[in-house]
Symmetry: C2
Subunit: 223 residues, 2 copies
Amino acid sequence: MEKEVRVIEVKRSIFEDNNKDADRLRQELKEKNVFLLNLMSSPGSGKTTTLLALAKALKGRVKMGVMEADIDSAVDAETMQEAGVKSIQIHTGGMCHLDADMTRQGLYEFGMDDAELIVLENVGNLVCPAEFDTGAVKNMTILSVPEGDDKPQKYPLMYETCDLLVVNKIDVLPYFDFDKDNMEKYAKLRNPNIEIIYISAKTGEGIDKLANWIEKETKNWIG
Amino acid sequence: MEKEVRVIEVKRSIFEDNNKDADRLRQELKEKNVFLLNLMSSPGSGKTTTLLALAKALKGRVKMGVMEADIDSAVDAETMQEAGVKSIQIHTGGMCHLDADMTRQGLYEFGMDDAELIVLENVGNLVCPAEFDTGAVKNMTILSVPEGDDKPQKYPLMYETCDLLVVNKIDVLPYFDFDKDNMEKYAKLRNPNIEIIYISAKTGEGIDKLANWIEKETKNWIG
């Protein structure tokens, strides 16, 4: 049996309003010359560790800041702050995602005059964050090897909405059954244009490639 | 800055209605002598692999069935079916959790006359599933080693609502920085009564302990 739950109308109108608001925010980012990158993944896939490695790699190349979104704690923003990266913590008050208005509140608080690249670390979740356009210029998702190669099959919308798929923790590939070909097949089925970069945030492998991608996209946007 | 997003009233009433409905469902389960176990975790923590190992361990001890909830695919129910475990797939139509009414629809479709234990494999997500009481008798969460020891800090509600925390993938402990003491400290801070069992669904370590816990709880409930 495959019982489908109907999408209720109130939800649909929430999405429509948010989409318009996200477009307005992107326009504002364009005027301010700020590239906003929305980073999504499961909990524990290595978002914060990847951002720490990126901040190091991009030093002197792109002025970078980070907005950490979380239900409750301030662990991630503290970690970034300690590493010398300008960051703020956004508490979602129990919500499992950020919408465009919440993102705008964060950006105003952060200040857009002194950054070229702001990374929004979304709540660790593969479902809701993919449904709400934050107003970001590009979307990126991290899939870590231990999570398994079937994630593009199970969370299709996440892969449809992302421009870049970063596969993290490749240093532990020998210890897991992770079929790269299978994973890539389904990711590209969902999104033929998705770009894929393999990294280990822990060992640093692939971080240069990721940093180059982000620098290129940032310069393209801010002109 | 720590910007709190207000909880809107409509959400609150959704929760209240659901809580009452969940209590009604538990009553119904009691009358039907069925123990419903709600299994929650991040995507890729090993829910399905753990259930496969459990089905094997509980064979001849408890009549077990599985309801797999997913956004879209039927991968998990197919896996269970192939292993000879009675299972159905519930599609949530894009929703990131199950509420009591969706769970009831699944149970009616599954049939409650020929099972003592039904495990509901909830959508892979640490936020929304913890907010919605499914009507289950007990809640269990899996935290896999590669996700990191900070999950109880970051997703407090999940740990508050769970009776049992299963730590999976302990076979890869040597390859990750996972501080057991830190993890246990925060899990117990959130929920002093939480029970913790360490397993590797892959190697089978600890599965007997988990099977014993589930058998005991099932027999307690169905009397």
